[in-house]
Amino acid sequence: MDPQIIIARRVAKELKSGNLVNLGIGIPTLVANYVPSDLKVFFQSENGLIGTGPIPEQGMAHPTLTDAGGRPISALPGASTFDSAMSFGLIRGGHVDVTVLGGLQVDAHGLLANWMIPGKMVPGMGGAMDLVTGAKRVIVAMQHAAKGKSKIVAKCTLPLTSARPVNLVVTDMAVIGFPDGKATLLETAPGVSVGEVMAVTEAELAVPDTVPEMKL
C-alpha cells in the first residue's frame, strides 16, 4: 500500500461521528477520502466553511467556493460559512475536535515543528500555530523519515509551531502517542516490526509489552 494511504486510512479511524475536524494540506487532506460514509463528520476549511465537500465535477467549480489553498471545493447539505474571525474563534476557542496536520519534526515530548526551515523555506505559518494551540486533539500525519532521516527526533531543531504537545503521530511505519509526556510506540504498520521502527527513529521510544499492528 502507498505510504500516504496507510497514514490517511489510519488517521481516518480516529474521527468520530459529530466531530468538527480541520485537515491541513498534503497527506491530511487525503484523510477525508477514508472516512466511512455513515460517519457524520464536519470538515472545516479555515477560509470560512464548515461542511466541505469533494472537488466539484468538471465545469461545476464556483470562484467563491474554495479551500484554504484557493482550490475549488463543494459544500455538503448543512454547510455553513463565516468570516475569518469566526473561523479562528472556532479553532483557538477549542471548538475544533480534531486537527490533522503535516509535520517536519515531532520530538520525544510531542512538540511539533512544521512551518519553517530557516534560510530555506519561510512561507509563513498560516493557521498552523492557532490549530495546534487551540484544537482539542492534534494529530500529525507524516512520513516516518525523509531522505533516510528520522522525523521523530529527540528534540526539534526547527522552530516550534506551538508550546502545546501534539496528541498522536501517525506515520507510514507507526502510531506514536505521548502518555505522561513521553513518546510511546502504540502500533506498527502492517508488515513492519518493532525493531524496524526503533532502527529508523531518532527519539527514544517507550515500547509497551504488546504493540498491535495498525487496523486499516
Binding site: H62, D83, A85, M121, V122, G124, M129, T161, S162
Partner: protein, 215 residues
C-alpha cells in the same frame, strides 16, 4: 457612502499608504481596485493581507509590479515573487499567525488596544512581545492593527452601501471594513435597497465610504 469610479477611488490613495486588502488566496479580493493601483503605479505600499496570492492574481499583481515595501501577512509560500522580494530585502515582511492576524484587525476596528492570545507562546512569534498571565495561563499581547485604506470585495452592495458576501469570499472582508480610515468597496452586484434583507446584511452601510460603480 459615495459612488465613485475605480479611477477616482484609487487616485485618493497616496504612494506609501497603508492598505488592507480582503481576500484569501485572491478569493473575495477587489481585483478591479488592484488593477487600477497597478495602472496608477502606487509605489511603496504597506500591504496588510492574509497572503500574497499567486503571481497575476489578487494582491499578487502588486508584487508583480513591485509596489509593496512592507507586508503583514500569514502565508506567502504560494507566491514565488513575494518570496524572492522578501529574501532580497526589497520588502519587509511580518509573518503573523492567521488567528492573530484577524484578531489584531478586529481589535483595530473595535476600539481595542489589542488582544491576548495563547497562539505563539513559546515560539519565535513571542519574541519581543509582552507575555501576560491570566488565571495561570500565558498569553501574548498582540496589538491592534489598522490601515489608512481597506479595499473590500462583496457579493452584493445595495445603493446605500449595505454589504453581503458569498461563501468563502467573505473571509477577512467584513473585519477589514471596520479597521481603516477609508473603506472602498467593489461588489459583484449592485442592487436596490431592500434586496439584502436586514438579517442578511453583514457590513452595515455606514461603514462604507466609497462604492465603485460598474465600469
Amino acid at each position: 457612502m459615495k459612488a465613485v469610479s475605480v479611477e477616482e477611488a484609487v487616485a485618493m490613495i497616496p504612494p506609501g499608504a497603508s492598505v488592507m486588502v480582503g481576500g484569501f488566496m485572491a478569493v473575495g479580493t477587489p481585483e478591479r481596485l488592484l488593477d487600477e493601483i497597478v495602472r496608477q503605479k502606487k509605489t511603496g505600499l504597506t500591504l496588510i493581507c492574509n497572503d500574497a496570492a499567486t503571481p497575476g492574481k489578487g494582491v499578487g499583481k502588486l508584487f508583480d509590479a513591485a509596489l509593496v515595501s512592507k507586508l503583514t501577512a500569514t502565508h506567502i509560500g504560494l507566491n514565488p515573487k513575494a518570496q524572492q522580494q522578501m529574501l532580497a530585502n526589497q520588502i519587509a515582511v511580518n509573518l503573523v499567525p492567521q488567528g492573530t492576524f484577524v484578531e489584531r484587525i478586529r481589535a483595530g476596528g473595535c476600539g481595542l488596544g489589542g488582544v491576548l492570545t495563547p497562539t505563539g507562546v513559546g515560539t519565535l512569534v513571542a519574541e519581543g512581545k509582552r507575555q501576560i498571565e491570566v488565571d495561570g495561563k500565558p498569553f501574548l499581547l498582540e496589538t491592534a492593527l489598522r490601515a489608512q485604506f481597506a479595499l473590500v470585495h462583496a457579493f452584493l452592495a445595495d445603493y446605500l452601501g449595505n454589504l453581503a458576501y458569498a461563501l468563502t469570499s467573505r473571509n477577512f472582508n467584513p473585519v477589514m471594513a471596520m479597521a481603516a480610515d477609508t473603506v472602498i468597496v467593489t461588489a459583484e452586484n449592485i442592487v436596490p435597497v431592500g434586496v439584502i434583507a436586514p438579517d442578511h446584511v453583514v457590513t452595515p452601510a455606514p461603514l462604507v465610504d466609497y462604492l465603485i460603480t460598474n465600469g
